[in-house]
């Protein structure tokens, strides 16, 4: 692999991660998730790393960042910056209720041959038609659809931001994600293209991994109704991921679709 390819591969990890094969974990890490008053500020770190939640690999790009406020309007992040190991942004929370912070990725990836050379391309579905030279042969295209999320609530939790779009993997709360407590059991539902996603494997890992010997990951599988349950062993930030692959691509040229969903959840002590 030459240097240029390594660069592209890294960029791909950023864009397409998380895939089940990669040990790298993509995440948003909020400074807090529960707020008393409107006018509060939160700051968020965004990164791809080996451990949780440490900046030791590459930053997560914020191109796909979408912050939805309780009334459905979009909130513009402030003071965004991307450094060597992490991106950061601030948010001013001016409404009562629950906000959703999501870095949404919808990408296309292609491998092809041109003049006897292996080439790679990545971009958005809209760019695909003009992205690959007409002379390309052996074109293999895959589509990726993923979301990296976290949530924050001012005052009482609300559920308006969880209205599913019907695209890709989405999480719908049964237990509100800003109402999680140690030793309590939470229930969430996963949807795939708007329908209950049965049999999805979900991996949940507590943060602060630097300070313990074992990953302590929790693995659960969704039931026929798409629901899974998790009993939080202790307080802290938790990282949750699920992935899936299918052929239900949105472009006829793509043969494979890779879906992912990641959330960072804060569990508070009793």
């Amino acid at each position: 692999m030459n240097l240029k390819l390594i660069g592209i591969a890294t960029a791909l990890t950023l864009c397409l991660a998380p895939s089940a094969a990669s040990a790298h974990k993509t995440w948003l890490h909020p400074s807090a998730t529960v707020f008393s008053d409107t006018g509060a500020w939160m700051t968020v770190d965004a990164a791809v790393s080996n451990d949780l939640f440490y900046f030791n690999h590459v930053p997560l790009r914020l191109d796909g960042l979408q912050v939805t406020s309780p009334d459905g309007s979009r909130v513009a992040p402030q003071n965004s910056a991307t450094g060597k190991y992490r991106s950061v942004f601030d948010l001013e929370l001016n409404q009562q209720g629950t906000y959703k912070l999501a870095v949404v990725n919808h990408g296309m990836f292609a491998q092809y041959q041109l003049d006897g050379e292996n080439k790679r391309w990545r971009g958005t579905p809209a760019e695909f038609k003009t992205g690959i030279p007409a002379a390309a042969t052996d074109v293999e295209v895959s589509e990726s659809l993923g979301s990296v999320e976290t949530f924050a609530t001012v005052g009482s939790p609300t559920t308006s931001v969880f209205k599913p779009s019907g695209k890709g993997i989405e999480m719908v709360p049964v237990t509100h994600p800003n109402d999680l407590y140690a030793e309590e059991t939470a229930t969430f539902q996963l949807l795939l293209d708007g329908k209950p996603a049965a049999g999805l494997e979900v991996e949940i890992i507590p943060g602060a991994s630097r300070y313990r010997d074992q990953p302590e990951e929790i693995k659960v599988v969704t039931g026929a109704d798409g629901n899974f349950q998790v009993k939080w062993p202790h307080a802290g930030m938790y990282w949750l991921e699920t992935t899936s692959t299918d052929e239900l691509t949105s472009l006829p040229e793509a043969s494979k679709r890779r879906l992912s969903y990641v959330a960072t959840l804060e569990v508070l002590p009793q």
């Binding site: 529960v34 008393s36 008053d37 009482s156």
Partner: protein
């Protein structure tokens, strides 16, 4: 049955003074702490039903004097209270919320004729007191009570860090 109801009605109409209101007295100690940066604790007191739902907010002490309601920013640090009640109760609440108190013993007195205990159904409750201090700790002390009960009750509990001696006295 009907005679009893009539008698009760008669008693209510004619002899209100002969039926003293049931009383709840709480004495809470805010300990004196030897720390480099001391802030008065935020304190919430409430009555919980067995299912943890809040039957009555008795007191919420926070920094009410900061400008632009800045003090309410830290209300969530009283984590249990915030979850059970605070996040759905706009502050301030008349007769319930007030300024933080200094170290020392503080007395609160409630009766069933007015305030948060008015109309509270008789039964078993948990009196919960939660204290949270900026750059300090947090502590919850709870005391099971029967309201108003049939005979006087004297109950005690003690915190170990942010709360000291708690005494509860109920006169039915």
């Amino acid at each position: 049955m009907r005679a009893i109801a009539t008698a009760a009605l008669f008693a209510m109409l004619v002899l209100p003074a002969a039926l003293p209101a049931a009383e709840l007295e709480i004495s809470v100690e805010i300990p004196r702490l030897n720390v480099s940066e001391y802030h008065r604790p935020y304190v919430a007191m409430w009555l919980e039903r067995p299912d943890h739902s809040v039957a009555a907010n008795l007191a919420v002490w926070y920094d009410v004097e900061m400008k632009a309601g800045e003090g309410s920013k830290w209300l969530k640090d009283m984590r249990q209270w915030w979850r059970r009640s605070g996040r759905s109760t706009p502050m301030p609440v008349d007769g319930v919320s007030g300024a933080t108190r200094p170290a020392g013993q503080h007395q609160l007195r409630f009766n069933d004729a007015k305030g948060p205990l008015k109309g509270l159904p008789p039964g078993r409750y948990e009196l919960v007191i939660e204290a949270a201090r900026e750059v300090g700790g947090r502590e919850v002390v709870s005391v099971p009570i029967t309201w108003p009960g049939s005979s006087p009750q004297q109950l005690k509990a003690k915190g170990t860090s942010e709360l000291g001696q708690v005494r509860v006295s109920i006169t039915p």
